[in-house]
């Protein structure tokens, strides 16, 4: 909890008093049916509307019939980089939630438990401040017997609202928005449960807290998870066609696009499989404007052949890969960054493609637009590597200026005199297709093709042409690499250790840097959002450090360097580049990074 020392820790005192804190981590543990994600969602949204930063973390049960599930939310008035290693407050509904998560509570933290279901352990009484409330029965009392299971989340929201002196009118408004369009009795019940919780003032809660005002006053924020940010980013970018097949955790994105695109005259098609969907998206890219497809793990593997066609035919396409635990069906609801290899090197033949990886939820939105624009500009397939962590993580970020950000990318059908889609003399190898519907006055029409081809797309078996076209496909990406900005080092640009990350790990890595520096260790961080091609000039950054540790959520691999680590080593041949890896399917805790980095440094 950053700055807690200066603002007062969340710990019980002798008398009810109000402490000002600048952030809090709340973990809610129950079963997936308990609506704990809803409580988390309300808290996150409230933080967004209060110009605070917020980050959430949740687990999804891997069994079909549901089961234990948690939602953790961290709200702060300063920068919030992770959802927090340890909680200040643990709200738990069952004995298993209590016993299973007490370890994630800070020493002296508050455990708020449903005394209808939880019997507290004597041996933990000292370490944690226990507050028992018969949440289930009080909810029944408040809203009647039937709604029991549905209301206790809102009752608990009331408890938390009271404890942290949250803005009740804003919360009421959020509840109202959530339950609009439904039977009004539902909203009334919800409000009743919430107010009952708010009114309850358990005797041994001796302190309430106020989160200090944000330093971002006046900034209007939106609150969403990474999958939503990607879907809306694509819409803002002008994408109007997509096709896919469901798979967790990609599915949300297709569900959003399926239901939203029609508003914009666009269409999203659920296909019979992943191969059909990448093919259909390519058909639409060929026919008009860059289309999107997406998947996770196994579905990405199935799209590989068609993506190779996109490389050869130089067809723009955005492929969203919401990574999950692999290999094979693996751990579908867990977090991993192990698809970098397939994204960069998964094609047969020499099939270079662009790989981007957003660092956080806001980045999901803007980088989706960048992905579309790179695909269009370079006529290439672009892999967008997000992961299960960002996908379901909720963050607040400043509302984008949509009038500026939204793009109109309707294709141009003005007749042209002549056209060579695979012009070998084009600067940096960058060419564009014209679209069906466009008349070509010299009567020579191009073919988009997966065979090696001449400049019009007609088959060629010429050795020279193959070398030149291979080079064209490579040079385009080298030109893109040269155009990319060098990422900024977090922390001093020179020092002992540089932590390199990519994708969703930016937050925990930065927080680890903060901890190191607070302890006097010379550690900085570099975050790569453009993973293939890499921006030029990284070697100059690396040269400022005596050790470069690539922090990734994937296996160390046969030779011990992880997936990005191996790529950096191959390019720079710098033996000080080493890996820090794990594959437990969970986001990095800051302390895990700190410990592993220490152990690597000790060596």
């Amino acid at each position: 909890m950053s700055n807690t020392t200066t603002t007062g820790a969340v710990s019980p005192g002798d008398a009810k008093k109000v402490s000002r804190i600048n952030e809090v981590v709340i973990r809610i543990a129950g079963n997936s049916q308990d609506g704990i994600q809803a409580i988390g969602g309300f808290l996150a949204r409230l933080a967004g509307r209060s110009e605070q930063e917020v980050m959430t973390f949740m687990t999804i049960p891997s069994t079909i019939s549901g089961g234990p599930s948690i939602f953790q939310v961290r709200i702060g008035s300063g920068e919030v980089l992770t959802s927090g290693d340890d909680a200040d407050v643990l709200l738990c509904f069952y004995q298993h939630s209590y016993e299973g998560h007490i370890n994630s509570l800070k020493k002296k933290g508050i455990v708020l438990y449903d005394s209808d279901h939880v019997v507290p352990k004597p041996e933990w009484q000292d370490a944690y401040h226990h507050v028992g409330i018969p949440i289930s029965s009080l909810t029944v009392e408040a809203i009647g017997g039937t709604a029991k299971d549905k209301g206790k989340n809102l009752y608990s929201l009331g408890l938390i609202a009271k404890m942290f002196d949250l803005n009740v009118p804003k919360l009421e408004k959020l509840l109202g928005e959530r339950f609009t369009g439904k039977d009004p009795s539902i909203l009334n019940n919800a409000l009743a449960a919430f107010h009952a919780g708010y009114a309850n003032s358990p005797g041994n809660v001796v302190e309430t807290f106020q989160i200090t005002d944000s330093d971002k006053k006046g900034v209007s924020q939106v609150v969403m998870n990474g999958n939503e940010a990607i879907a809306y980013g694509l819409i803002a970018a002008g994408v109007r066609f997509g096709a896919a097949y469901p798979i967790t955790p990609w599915t949300d994105i297709m569900e959003i696009l399926r239901r939203e695109l029609p508003k914009y005259g666009g269409t999203f098609i659920q296909c019979e499989d992943e191969i059909a969907s990448v093919s259909m998206a390519l058909g639409a890219s060929f026919a008009g404007r860059v289309a999107v497809t997406g998947s996770s793990g196994p579905g990405i593997a199935l799209k590989t052949e068609a993506i190779g066609w996109a490389v050869m035919a130089e067809m723009p396409l955005v492929i969203i890969n919401v990574q999950r635990g692999g290999p094979s069906t693996g751990m579908p609801t867990n977090i991993e960054q192990s698809d970098l290899n397939i994204a960069i090197n998964g094609g047969h033949g020499d099939a270079p493609r662009v790989v981007l990886a957003p660092a956080n939820v806001e980045d999901c939105f803007y980088m989706a637009i960048e992905a579309v624009n790179i695909a269009r500009k370079y006529s290439v397939p672009v892999f967008f590597l997000t992961d299960q962590g960002i996908a379901t993580r909720i963050e607040a970020f400043p509302s984008p200026d949509l009038e500026k950000v939204c793009q109109d990318i309707t294709p141009d059908f003005t007749p042209v005199a002549t056209h060579k889609p695979y012009d070998l003399t084009a600067k940096d190898g960058v060419t564009q297709h014209i679209k069906p519907g466009t008349r070509i006055l010299d009567g020579k029409y191009p073919i988009a093709t997966g065979l090696e081809h001449d400049e019009y797309g007609h088959p060629s078996g010429s050795p020279k042409v193959h070398m030149l076209q291979n080079a064209k496909r490579r040079i385009k990406l080298q030109a893109l690499g040269a155009s990319l900005p060098l990422p900024k080092v977090y922390g001093p640009a020179e020092g002992k250790t540089l932590l390199v990350g990519w994708g969703s790990t930016e937050g925990p890595i930065r927080e680890a840097v903060d901890r190191f520096r607070a302890a006097g260790d010379s550690v900085s961080a570099l975050h790569l959002r453009h993973v293939n091609p890499l921006p030029n000039g990284l070697e100059n950054i690396f040269s400022g450090f005596s050790q470069v540790l690539v922090v990734e959520m994937n296996d160390e691999g046969l030779y011990g360097f992880g997936q990005l680590g191996s790529i950096l080593r191959a390019r720079y041949c710098d033996p000080k580049i080493q890996g820090v890896n794990k594959t437990d399917g969970l986001t990095w805790k800051v302390k895990e990074i700190v410990e592993l980095v220490k152990s690597k440094t000790a060596k």
């Binding site: 967004g48 939106v222 609150v223 969403m224 819409i235 803002a236 002008g238 109007r240 066609f241 096709a243 939203e260 029609p262 508003k263 914009y264 005259g265 666009g266 269409t267 098609i269 296909c271 019979e272 191969i275 059909a276 969907s277 093919s279 259909m280 998206a281 390519l282 058909g283 639409a284 890219s285 060929f286 026919a287 008009g288 289309a291 068609a306 035919a313 509302s399 949509l402 009038e403 950000v405 939204c406 309707t410 059908f413 003005t414 007749p415 679209k435 069906p436 519907g437 466009t438 008349r439 070509i440 009567g443 029409y445 191009p446 073919i447 988009a448 093709t449 997966g450 065979l451 007609h458």
Partner: protein
Amino acid sequence: MSQILSDKPVVPAAVTETATGERKGLTKKEIAADHPTWCPGCGDFSVLALYFKLIEKRKLWHEKITTISGIGCSSRFPYFVQAHGAHFIHGRALPFASGVSLSRPDLHVFAFSGDGDAFSIGGNHFTHTARKNIKMTLVVMDNQVYGLTKKQTSPTSPLGFKSKTDIWGAVDYPINPAKQAIAVGASFVARTSAANPNHVLAMMEAAMDHDGFSFVHCLSECVEFYEGAFDVANPRKGGAFNEVPKNHDVTDELAAYKLAGADFPGNFGVLYKVNKPTKNAREAEINASFQSKFTGLKDWQILQKTFDRMK
């Protein structure tokens, strides 16, 4: 949703302008591109010639036709046509063509495929494109063999056919493409033979005019690896070209299924044709109903409304 609203396709301005002008229909010379690389005598030449004829006769223009294929001898088709085209990957011409069809209502979308391409590796796309009734024409040039890879058994090879993968004669029961198409919900199913040019043209025309997924199953002889396969359907080779009986009701699914199942080579002509809403129309209808709620708003304003709810 039962009624199909007509969703106006955004026809590119420049083209419409020209279109209303005085352009004449294309000549064969203007339509022909590369000289076909097929073996002399291959049935596919005939199909290509009739595609040219269709374009000439129906006064289609280069930029309005899209010719799409997978991989195979037959799938070399797009290279031989002067029009926007795509030579995609093996077996996936249909979903690619669907992407074109569903996003560009102003184009004529034709897919050309071989028996392996369409019914072996591409068999599932055949099923699902048909059931969704996506508007386009699929012509399968069925030579009952894998041509490009030099004589392996195809899913339409008859029992006993001696290929390189069945030197003792094929042992797998072949599929009947027309039956499969009818069973999975295709709305237009016709059978023809490259050896009968007038008939091919008639079927292509009927297919093009059908508002839905139209499937033309065209026997097309591979003179290199399965010579004489279709002599039995060729009067010039002592066979008989039996047309669909005049009294056949093309809208009667059972009758069509039965006719399609007749012993090889069966009857030629339109076996089945029913009108039902296309996927294109259904999606256009969904769009129209949503868009009517946002009339006059720019795209960014629509998105802004959504973001306002995410605060």
